[in-house]
């Protein structure tokens, strides 16, 4: 192997993945250069399978040949590997614990609950809507009147959550659920986040996300 071939950063990702977007946002916040590699999830590359043998999933950040897996672990790694700029976690240990708690909550709840909104129909979908609205209200309550979830500084919880906002259009189209109406206090926060270049460059067009959801529905045979 040529010397230096392994040097640098590679992000194995998939364009629509909110988990991958978290990593892109974090890297952009730190102003770090990296190579973005789009994976075909139906035909995963040998590099992906080698780098994440346990889960075989994206995103994977490969730094000088060493793979880091799991999006929130990657974001914290990025924060710790470039500690000299744009801190993504607060300095105070209690505030850090709170940030980890809420980022973990987003991880536990948003993806599964959001997926149910377009996968299910009828009564099951109504149940899923109730559940999703509860989560939104919980997050809205935690944000309160703050600029970002961590206060004045954009950080881990914002990064964990904001990619899911690109799916709001799809949730409305598929489940008739308007996140903006159910959790209006999140609206200015979404706008504020999107004004950051790291976010606007990393998030996909909501219409393209909807196209993708429609494609998935066809694949799964959902009307």
């Amino acid at each position: 192997m040529a010397e230096g071939e392994n040097k640098g950063l590679v992000l194995l990702d998939f364009w629509v993945s909110p988990f991958g977007q978290r990593c892109r946002i974090a890297l952009a916040e730190k102003g770090v250069e990296y190579e973005y590699r789009e994976e075909n999830l139906r035909d995963k590359s040998p590099l992906l399978l080698k780098s994440n043998p346990v889960h075989k999933k994206i995103p994977v950040l490969i730094h000088d040949g060493k793979p880091v897996c799991e999006s929130l672990i990657i974001v914290q790694y990025i924060d710790e590997a470039w500690p000299d700029r744009a801190p993504l976690l607060p300095a105070d240990s209690y505030a850090r614990a709170q940030a980890r708690f809420w980022a973990d909550l987003v991880d536990k709840k948003m993806y599964e609950s959001g997926t149910k909104l377009w996968k299910l129909k009828g009564e099951a979908q109504e149940e899923a809507k109730k559940e999703f609205i509860e989560i939104l209200k919980l997050l809205e309550g935690e944000l309160g009147d703050k600029k970002y979830f961590g206060g004045d500084t954009f950080g881990l919880v914002d990064i964990a959550l904001v990619p899911f906002t690109a799916w709001f259009y799809s949730y409305e189209a598929c489940a008739n659920l308007s996140a903006e109406k159910e959790a209006p206090k999140l609206v200015p926060w979404v706008k504020r986040c999107r004004e950051r270049e790291s976010v606007s460059k990393s998030l996909p067009d909501p219409l393209k996300v909807y196209e993708f959801v429609c494609f998935l529905k066809k694949v799964y045979g959902i009307e």
């Binding site: 346990v54 730094h63 060493k66 880091v68 897996c69 799991e70 672990i73 990657i74 914290q76 790694y77 710790e80 590997a81 240990s93 209690y94 850090r96 614990a97 980890r100 708690f101 973990d104 909550l105 919980l138």
Partner: protein, 238 residues
Amino acid sequence: MAAAEGIEVKLIGAWPSPFVLRARIALNLKGVEYEFLQEKFGEKSELLLRANPVYKKIPVLLHHGKPICESMIIVEYVDEAWPAAGRAILPADPYERALHRFWASYIDDKLNPSGAALSKTQTEEAKVEAAGQVIAGLKLLEEAFGRLSKGKGFFGGDDIGYVDIALGCFLGWLKVMEKTSGVKFIDEEKMPLLAGWAERFCAHEAVKAVMPEPERLEAFARKRAASAKAPPANQNTF
């Protein structure tokens, strides 16, 4: 012994819970004195509901009255709030930290649920399949031990660390499951590293005083199963 007078630390928990055990081990490693608030089985205290309104689960650490929830988040908080006391629970290097977090995550997202699935199996066939899943997961950790321990006695190296705590908390219940299912999960021949580690972990001074004896856990499980046909409403799901 933790410095500073007037440090007020309380832990809301229950003795059988492996998740509560994680918090206790972390506090012990740092020599932090704390008050253990044992929850009554089958009912959640006002304090717990106020301290953890989102999940209403134990453990909850209260530091100067401020709650921290979720066991591994508590462990990391203890590591950061008492940096000078005892040994670091997470390593200093960012890449090593990422590896330790990955395996702790694996334990919570995959291994523990596979154990829970096993405990719920009804048929022999389902039990064998579920036991196989648990063993497959433990095999991955056997391999990970080699990488993380760097030839030393614990995942954390010379001393107990983040992954040791994440996994070791289940050893008591694992012994109970071995007895009830007849399956040997950590076989010395197949998983020599984990077998040696398990013994060292249970004998560690930060662990042995707080880790419940398997016999006591077994009696608890029997009593709980007998007292409720419906799934118990208490916090000790695992």
